[in-house]
């Protein structure tokens, strides 16, 4: 409680002269869960952006010696003694005497030491910078942190690439949806009347059709001869096209509420042009809500992509996304034999949780004046 009276404390002065963004930040900081969520997302985004650097191998490279291989967990010591440098065991391929199938067998005597910044296959970072250095690797043989799939592809590497794809598709989808929502909701909220009525009807029509079936309908229209890049962008477009109505409704009602505020009338009576009102009053009140909106709708985009790719109507291999990775875990046999194929699901869950918690925190912080109005 304020002990010093009379003179204004530095703390109070700081509060009184704090702008909207500072207040939002102060309130947001108190929300521990949201901070954790933000960090988790930063890490995921980093993984996605630097996927080729972090992943020891390309997403399609096969390790024929280690098919359906379980995760290799780096260790420091075993019955053969301690090592300061973490290592994984080597594998030997043997043929099963009965089925004659090749199976990987762990060779506990062979150690593969983990090295950082090793030379690997060449790649281009961000599709531009040619590089060879990878974050980590082993000197001989290969390392598969999360194991491999039925073709012997490294799940860890694939997951890094998938993270990049899924997050970026979510971002683009949300951006398109938010853009449409702003334009359409903005027009409806600003002009009102018949235009508003018509747009409301249209929004309602798109909203009543079940979302995933609608996605499916649009995704089914992708011609089979389309390239991966085309499918990728078509997906973002579809996500955006289906996602806008909910956002547009929120934009519209927020705009209507803001327009009715006394201070907007005050600005108009002070001789402000519409552009001034929008720039000085409406947009600043809006941006924080839009950020919240984006964060909240993001999980739906990611989940929709995952779901669609999962059932084969979204992205197509060799593109790698969370949904495509999960496709391999679609049947019970796969999960039984190779439960590590379920690791991508953990990523999806963690990412969505992070977004949800972050969204909640932002929503609480987004209107720093809510309390002081009372």
């Amino acid at each position: 409680m304020a002990e010093e009276r009379g003179g204004l404390g530095a703390e109070e002065l700081r509060y009184y002269t704090a702008s909207q963004w500072q207040l939002i930040w102060w309130r947001f900081r108190r929300h521990r869960g949201a901070l954790v969520g933000a960090w988790v997302l930063l890490v995921l985004a980093f993984m996605g952006a630097f996927a080729p650097f972090i992943a020891p191998y390309s997403g399609t490279a096969r390790d024929r010696d280690y098919v359906y291989g379980p995760p290799q967990i780096p260790r420091f010591w075993d019955e053969n003694g301690f090592s300061l440098r973490p290592f994984v065991y080597g594998v030997k391929t043997e043929r099963d005497p009965v089925t004659l199938r090749k199976i990987a067998r762990v060779d506990r005597d062979q150690r593969r030491y983990l090295r950082f910044f090793v030379e690997g296959e060449p790649y281009r970072l961000f599709g531009l910078i040619p590089m060879r250095v990878r974050l980590f690797g082993v000197e001989e043989g290969k390392i598969h942190l999360f194991g491999t799939d039925e073709l012997g592809r490294d799940l860890f590497s694939r997951l890094m690439f998938a993270t990049g794809t899924s997050l970026s598709i979510g971002v683009l989808g949300v951006l398109i949806a938010e853009f449409l929502a702003l334009v359409i909701g903005g027009i409806a909220g600003y002009f009102g009347g018949w235009i508003d009525y018509g747009i409301q009807r249209l929004t309602e029509v798109v909203r009543v059709v079940p979302v995933i079936p609608l996605y499916m309908g649009l995704a089914a229209a992708f011609p089979p001869e389309w390239s991966n890049v085309q499918v990728y962008f078509a997906m973002t477009l579809v996500l955006g096209l289906v996602g806008w109505p909910t956002l547009a409704r929120r934009v519209r009602s927020h705009l209507l509420a803001q327009r009715r505020e006394d201070y907007v009338l005050a600005a108009e009576l002070a001789g402000a042009r519409p552009a001034w009102v929008i720039r000085r009053h409406l947009l600043p009140s809006f941006t924080s809500y839009i950020i919240v909106d984006v964060v909240i709708s993001f999980p739906y985009m990611v989940l929709s992509e995952t779901a669609l790719s999962f059932i084969g109507l979204g992205l197509r291999p060799p593109t790698i996304s969370w949904g495509i990775l999960l496709q391999e875990a679609q049947n019970v046999r796969a999960i039984e034999q190779a439960p590590w194929l379920f690791i991508p699901a953990v990523f999806v869950i963690v990412a969505v949780l992070a977004f949800t918690v972050l969204g909640d925190g932002l929503r609480d912080a987004a209107d720093p004046y809510a309390v002081s109005r009372r």
């Binding site: 009184y16 002269t17 006394d262 005050a266 002070a270 109005r373």
Partner: protein
């Protein structure tokens, strides 16, 4: 005597009433303001008194062109000549706004919480481009802030740092920064605590003394209007029923409605003589009563009141009243 600053003639504001549902038919209209004549002399304060639903706020905003006007004339007599305000549109209307401003009732909703006090006060100057440079804007903001007894150090702060009374001072400073000739004050002290009200009323009187601004002071509180206004107009259901110099009105209210308003004010001296307590409430403005709109609640109503709307006529010099039987009823 010179021409008045603001001249309002036959002003009417009607809001359409729509039915709900798919086909929004127009089912009627609310006569919020219905044929009001009003003249405001340069530098005077006219009080506009009435209950909620009387149309006083709409009248004030209509003069400022903040709500669409259905009928009538509004003229400003400025130094540069006479201006027909209703004929203004677009850019010319926008430019004209420097001559007339509004102070809001709610000191919380009327200040954008995302702008500093300096930016709020500077808005009319910057929006209208009335200052040549940023330095000049700062200079004028500083000057008006001092006049409105706002600590200059507060200009960097945001509205959330302030109490109701201080916020209202900011609102007044914003309205006055472009030196308007005419100010509509819409219940500027109703939302404030009693101990703060007096301070704001004093400030408004001081500012009028130094700037010579003309005030239209809207309130539901006759006691407040007695302190600040030179003349008072009493409104009932969109019409002015009585208009007189304050002293005259307080001593000799002629309209039964005005008298009822007076006797409804709780007094510090309990047990005053003859009280005129009104029955019922203000009727729905979408369906106003015929004839004299007050006849449904008037204790003296006669058959004629139901049929014939009374004209606003002068019973004494400067004392106008809209009642058929004002002479008989006069105390």
């Amino acid at each position: 005597m010179s021409a008045p600053l603001v001249e309002v003639e036959g002003l009417a504001v009607r809001f359409p009433v729509h039915s709900r549902g798919l086909f929004r038919r127009r089912v009627g209209q609310i006569h919020a303001v219905d044929g009001v004549d009003l003249r405001l002399e340069r530098g005077e304060t006219v009080g506009l008194v009435g209950e909620s639903g009387s149309g006083k706020t709409t009248l004030g905003r209509a003069i400022l062109r903040a709500v669409p006007v259905s009928e009538g004339r509004i003229r400003f007599h400025l130094e540069e000549g006479e201006v027909d305000v209703l004929a203004l549109a677009g850019e010319r209307l926008r430019r004209f706004r420097r001559h007339m401003q509004l102070v809001f009732q709610d000191p919380y909703a009327s200040l954008d919480p995302r702008m500093t006090v300096r930016d709020i006060i500077a808005e009319p100057l910057e929006a209208l481009g009335l200052a040549a440079s940023r330095a000049e804007v700062d200079e004028r903001v500083r000057e008006i802030a001092q006049r409105c007894r706002i600590n200059v150090e507060y200009l960097r702060r945001f509205p959330h740092a302030f109490s109701g009374g201080q916020r209202q001072r900011i609102g007044i400073a914003r309205a006055l920064v472009c030196n308007p000739e005419f100010l509509v004050l819409d219940e500027p002290v109703s939302a404030l605590d009693v101990s703060i009200q007096a301070d704001i009323l004093n400030l408004l009187m001081d500012l009028q003394d130094s700037f010579g601004t003309t005030y239209l002071f809207i309130t539901h509180d006759l006691a407040v209007v007695g302190q600040i206004a030179r003349r008072v107009a009493v409104m009932y259901l969109g019409r002015i029923v009585e208009l007189a110099p304050t002293e005259e009105l307080f001593q000799r209210p002629l309209h039964p409605y005005t008298r009822a308003l007076f006797s409804a004010i709780p007094s510090l001296e309990p047990g005053r003589s003859e009280r005129l307590v009104l029955a019922g409430e203000v009727p729905d403005p979408a369906h106003p009563p015929s004839g004299c709109r007050f006849h449904t609640r008037c204790p003296f109503a006669r058959p004629r009141c139901r049929e014939e709307p009374p004209e606003l006529r002068a019973l004494a010099p400067d004392h106008l009243v809209a009642c058929h039987f004002a002479e008989e009823l006069a105390p």
